[in-house]
């Protein structure tokens, strides 16, 4: 379907497509098998300027919007959402700086991220603060002209690989949600270490670790935005980043349709290619329907967000749920169409099925997204 993209958007698609076909697809199985971080591939993505897409022009980027980043992530996701996740998490790591950071922080951190010299990460989740972000226990206390951070973040994408981390910590416990603030922590700051790499079911090319703060001292000016505005910035960050996760789902969905249809065309049983059997055609048709419907919603949601409306949470959550539930279902279907071959590691769909599961869990579980949508509906209908 033609979504009437701009010339620049077509360029982003072409570049991400070429990187995916030439660099990601030939290497994804090995990276997955070895749990290996895709440093070389990320370097070639930086060379192609993809890291600059979400960064404003005045800081060396392209000032791209939500749809631009969605288009890039959809292509990368078609190859490997482990690599796509590493890329997306870097963008997620700098969103708080873009949204709320001081001019000094922007000047210091955005240009090297745009160039791909620095890699970023976003530290929100903790052992007791997942879906309920208010359970955060990491603290930041001002001591003289330095903040002192203590606590442990869990399951942080790009942990141990990133140069800069935006970290949410409680600065005033008595204020609840208004007592959280965001800080920039650099790799190498005293008192900051990363835990060992977690062993995961899928997205194994991406790195996931704990971030451990033990009397970690950072300069006062690393506070992002005003003290106590951390949650608001986190919510804005996630509202703009969720369509990116949805886009990774579109990528998996497309790859699954491509793999399953191509296989069904060449697999012969009972003297015919299995694609000629209606049982298979219906599975493929349903996969294609769900994929295209999800794509239409994700693109529309991204365009809506690019207009910077006040009501972005609902559409952002809607597109995340739809596209990632689709990715899970379609990847299970692709394995089914390919039968025993689909289950084997020689074929890419078993990895896609393992990978797809995380999309329903991270950046807010799909249940939490439904809560958001439900609460918004409740508000809307109270007014009527």
């Amino acid at each position: 379907m033609d979504y009437f993209l701009s010339e620049e958007q077509h360029m982003i698609v072409e570049i991400a497509q070429q990187l995916t076909d030439e660099r990601i697809i030939p290497n994804r199985a090995e990276l997955d098998e070895k749990d290996e971080f895709p440093r070389e591939i990320l370097k070639s993505m930086a060379q192609a300027d993809l890291f600059g897409v979400p960064i404003p022009e005045e800081y060396g980027g392209f000032g791209g919007g939500c749809l631009d980043i969605v288009l890039a992530l959809e292509q990368l996701g078609r190859g490997c959402i482990g690599i796509g996740t590493a890329f997306a998490a870097s963008a997620l790591g700098v969103y708080p700086i873009i949204i709320a950071g001081s001019e000094e922080l922007k000047k210091k951190y955005l240009p090297p991220v745009a160039e791909g010299k620095y890699f970023a990460a976003f530290g929100l989740t903790e052992a007791n603060a997942g879906s309920d972000a208010s359970g955060i226990q990491t603290t930041a206390v001002l001591d003289g002209d330095e903040w002192v951070l203590n606590g442990t973040k869990q399951w942080i994408t790009n942990g141990g690989e990133a140069e800069i981390y935006t970290v949410i910590a409680i600065t005033d416990k008595s204020k609840g949600a208004r007592g959280a603030s965001i800080f920039v922590v650099e790799a190498g700051d005293p008192g900051f270490t990363c835990g060992p790499k977690e062993k995961k079911m899928g997205i194994r090319a991406s790195s996931t670790t704990e971030l451990i703060f033990k009397d970690c001292r950072i300069p006062q000016d690393r506070l992002v935005g005003r003290k106590g505005t951390g949650f608001i910035t986190v919510m804005k960050t996630l509202d703009s980043s969720r369509p990116g996760i949805a886009a990774l789902g579109l990528g998996i969905g497309q790859a699954c349709v491509d793999e399953a249809a191509a296989y069904a065309k060449q697999r012969v049983q009972f003297g015919k290619p299995i694609i000629s059997f209606q049982a298979i055609q219906h599975i493929l048709a349903d996969m294609a329907i769900q994929l295209e419907a999800s794509r239409a919603l994700v693109y529309a949601a991204a365009k809506h967000i690019d207009a910077h409306p006040k009501d972005m949470s609902k559409v952002s959550s809607m597109c995340k749920v739809m596209a990632t539930d689709m990715a899970m279902k379609v990847s299970v279907d692709a394995v089914q169409v390919m039968g025993g071959y689909g289950y084997m590691r020689e074929y890419p769909v078993e990895k896609m099925m393992r990978d797809a599961k995380i999309l329903q869990i991270y950046e807010g579980t799909n249940q939490v997204q439904r809560n958001v949508i439900g609460q918004e509906l409740n508000k809307e209908y109270s007014r009527k």
């Binding site: 010339e7 620049e8 360029m11 982003i12 072409e14 570049i15 070429q18 990187l19 030439e22 660099r23 070639s44 060379q47 192609a48 300027d49 993809l50 600059g52 897409v53 392209f62």
Partner: protein, 259 residues
């Protein structure tokens, strides 16, 4: 370091078919690409410029649509593109082509290094690079697989041989032809693509480069293509089955036909 990279637009080899009627290349509907070896030459030029400064000029001879590969080169980091294009160049063989390119290089002037792909995948002659160096009266080294050291005055590099490689040091200006082991060509960048969209190229005619009409195009080409044909298909194969005696019997039967 100022570098000129010679590039050629060729039909995508993945796509090539012969017209069964005429036995010539069927060009309709066949995608054109930048000769793959030339992509490695361009990558090396861009990375040398990133190390040493200077500029990278891409040069191609061809019809107006060859601007497509100049655009591609700009999106991959080249600074400037020159298209040598004139109806009078049509039908040029490697002799006439190297003459024409030499005249164009003289017109561009000021270079320390010329990089070419080892050969183009359409003609596969590997003659134009060395021919161009001879016309310009500069040294050339072919089949470069690695550049170890580079400065504006000298290059130290590895020349691929059938068995291992030679280490060659040569002073600039020099022409090199390169093989695919040299590097991995980069994917075009977003900035590059935007620059390519707006890029305008110098177009040089036979007159612009002061070419002698007798030395260009068909008139300047000693090679004349008499016939183009696909090689005859090889004979079929048969695998004989059964016991040794049965197989011998079958074999004798098959050979008997030729008696």
């Amino acid at each position: 370091m100022n570098i000129i990279v010679c590039i050629k637009q060729v039909p995508d080899a993945k796509d090539v078919r012969l017209d069964p009627e005429t036995n010539t290349l069927a060009r309709e509907g066949v995608q054109s690409i930048m000769n793959p070896y030339d992509q490695h030459a361009l990558e090396e030029a861009v990375s040398l410029r990133e190390q040493l400064g200077g500029k990278v000029t891409v040069l191609t001879m061809g019809p107006p649509q060859a601007e497509e590969i100049l655009k591609q080169a700009i999106s991959c980091g080249a600074d400037k593109g020159v298209l040598v294009s004139d109806r009078a160049f049509a039908g040029a063989d490697t002799w006439a082509t190297s003459y024409t390119l030499a005249k164009a290089v003289e017109k561009i002037g000021d270079f320390d290094l010329i990089l070419c792909g080892k050969q183009a995948i359409d003609g596969d002659t590997a003659q134009v690079g060395p021919g161009l160096a001879i016309r310009l009266d500069i040294p050339f080294v072919t089949c470069i697989q690695n550049i170890r050291e580079a400065s504006e005055s000298e290059l130290v590099m590895e020349r691929m041989m059938d068995d291992g490689y030679d280490v060659v040091a040569v002073s600039c200006p020099v022409l090199l032809t390169v093989v695919k082991d040299l590097n991995t060509p980069r994917v075009p960048s977003l900035k590059g693509k935007m620059k390519a969209k707006k890029a305008e190229f110098t177009v040089l005619s036979a007159e612009d480069i002061g070419a002698d009409a007798a030395c260009i195009g068909l008139a300047g080409s000693p090679t004349q293509v008499v016939d183009v044909f696909p090689p005859k298909p090889r004979g079929g194969r048969a695998i004989l089955n059964g016991s040794m005696e049965e197989q011998i019997e079958q074999l004798v039967e098959k050979l008997a036909v030729y008696l």
